[in-house]
């Protein structure tokens, strides 16, 4: 299972750190707060940790089918020298990687320790509907990965629980996907059917 989350730093207010009392305790585990206090750019790290938690929540939700708002229960630990992260969830751990850019942070989480997938980030103009735009970008990318596939062959649906599903001519060739949008950016991730994880 995979999940992603993107945070547009200008929309989130990355320079606005520690905005409210008690905020930290409600969102970040003490070990994460130590990372924030030790960091030179805590305003950005705050949102990186948030994106990692949210991406892990999406994986956990797909596994547990439980809705929950408990960010402090998804605890991020950087894995030294790998650039990856381990995120403890209410049931087990997930793995994640992230990209930190000047304008956004994006996180991709997976239940597998090693995962290959297709990811993309696009800038979305304020006149676009971000939800439709990210789907459009996803469909374009799927057509690149499957050269014989045309846009009209692709059908995007949502499960009753809100989990996105993608069909190509009626088949689930895309094993799993996740979409996210925030502010000026959209992000998608998908893995192919029958992909073996090692």
């Amino acid at each position: 299972m995979i999940g992603n989350d993107i945070v547009c730093l200008s929309t989130a207010g990355a320079s606005d750190f520690f905005p409210r009392p008690r905020y930290l305790d409600k969102v970040y585990h003490p070990s994460e707060q130590r990372l924030l206090f030790a960091d030179e750019t805590p305003g950005r790290l705050r949102w990186l940790l948030w994106a990692l938690k949210e991406s892990a929540y999406k994986v956990w939700f797909k596994q547990s089918h439980k809705r929950l708002f408990a960010p402090q229960k998804f605890v991020v630990s950087p894995l030294p020298e790998t650039g990856m992260y381990n995120i403890k969830t209410p049931s087990g751990s997930v793995f994640a990687r992230a990209e930190v850019c000047a304008d956004y942070v994006v996180a991709y989480a997976s239940s597998e320790p090693s995962f290959s997938n297709f990811t993309g980030v696009n800038r979305c103009s304020p006149t676009e509907d971000p939800s439709a735009f990210v789907r459009e970008k996803l469909v374009e990318r799927v057509c690149e990965v499957f050269p014989l596939c045309r846009k009209e062959d692709i059908r995007l649906e949502k499960s009753p629980e809100g989990i996105p599903l993608l069909y190509i001519r009626g088949f689930r060739e895309i094993f799993d996907l996740s979409l996210s949008h925030h502010g000026n950016f959209v992000s998608y991730v998908f893995t192919l059917k029958n992909e073996k994880h090692h």
Binding site: V7, A12, R20, R22, Y23, K26, V27, W50, E54, R67, L68, F69, A70, P71, Q72, K73, G162, H182
Partner: protein, 85 residues
């Protein structure tokens, strides 16, 4: 405090975090803060902190976990407000 009064105050609390204000017009118990009002999950923390200030209560993590619908949010707030009186 009456449920209707709590619901009205909650509507004012969530308002700044809802982009499409027309969504606020049809709020009812089943309204989902994330799915129906399209509130970004990062703002749920702000809503919980705002509710604590407005109602002068404390919402612990265990209760906050369930604050995903108007019905649950009102129930959690009402329990705490009415426990004080």
């Amino acid at each position: 405090m009456e449920i209707a009064e709590i619901t009205e105050k909650l509507r004012s609390i969530v308002r700044p975090y809802v982009d499409d204000k027309s969504l606020l017009e049809n709020i009812n118990g089943d309204t989902d803060l994330l799915k129906d009002l399209k509130i970004n999950s990062a703002h749920l923390v702000d809503i919980i902190l705002d509710a604590e200030e407005v109602f002068n209560i404390e919402i612990d993590d265990e209760a906050a976990e369930k604050m995903l619908t108007v019905k649950e949010a009102v129930r959690i707030i009402a329990e705490r407000v009415n426990a004080k009186t």
